[in-house]
């Protein structure tokens, strides 16, 4: 029973999960980067169809397409949102990369959690306000759930940063206990 439990832990233990989540989020950030490059380059080289004030960009291999209103503010909003998503997943992947290390309570984890907090409590809400009120000039609160979600992520990351800071302190003391 213990052997089964140990095998299970080695296969699906915290380090294994960190590895999987690192590759998953890094993959998503690379996919996002390729998407935003393809999206913006398509407009630059006019690789899109124009139908009823809407653009259609064919996605190769998948056989589907991206579509939206053919307006500068819409294209800018999509590009900025995609760039934010790329950075979001990149920082998230860096957190799990730091968690893969032998000593979980390390300065890299704290640094990346701090970036994640700033991203969700600072950059995210600022981008939301910029896109919502300045670029798209909306007066409703339809997408407010995205902002609430970002703030929730940020608050959780803030608590985790504080916890990890205390963890590093305890780890340092433990390392210097002979």
């Amino acid at each position: 029973m213990l052997l089964i439990k140990n095998n299970f832990m080695s296969m699906f233990g915290p380090k294994y999960l960190s590895h999987i989540l690192f590759y998953l989020f890094r993959g998503l950030s690379i996919f996002g980067l390729l998407s935003v490059i393809y999206y913006d380059v398509s407009f630059l080289i006019e690789n899109f169809r124009h139908e009823n004030d809407r653009y259609l960009i064919d996605i190769p291999l998948i056989g589907t397409f991206m579509k939206g209103e053919f307006q500068f503010n819409v294209i800018l909003t999509v590009s900025l949102t995609l760039i934010f998503i790329i950075i979001f997943f990149f920082v998230l992947s860096n957190i799990f990369k730091a968690l893969k290390e032998d000593v979980v309570f390390n300065h890299k984890t704290i640094k990346n959690l701090h970036y994640f907090t700033v991203l969700n409590l600072g950059v995210g809400p600022a981008l939301y306000l910029l896109v919502h009120y300045v670029i798209m000039q909306k007066e409703n609160y339809r997408d407010i759930h995205n902002l609430i979600l970002l703030i929730l992520f940020g608050v959780v990351a803030l608590f985790l940063t504080t916890t990890f800071k205390k963890g590093v302190h305890v780890q340092n003391e433990n390392d210097l206990t002979i």
Partner: protein, 68 residues
């Protein structure tokens, strides 16, 4: 106020090298060096016991309290 580690002095009195002590009490030379340099945050009773046993001394011979 600080705790002074007089391990070097006791080792010299016993004519013993740090490497030998580290091997005999089962800690690494690096950890013994941390202890000797005064960078250690704490000393386990088990480590202190092993050092005292090996060097045939009292904890007070190794550790001392000093006012700044």
């Amino acid at each position: 106020m600080r705790i002074i580690v007089n391990l070097d002095k006791v080792l010299a009195d016993r004519n013993m090298k740090s490497k030998e002590l580290a091997e005999n009490i089962g800690i690494t030379e690096a950890n013994l060096s941390i202890l000797k340099s005064g960078k250690a945050k704490a000393v386990r009773f088990s480590t202190l016991e092993a050092i005292c046993k090996e060097l045939d001394c009292q904890p007070g011979d190794i550790l001392a309290f000093q006012l700044d």
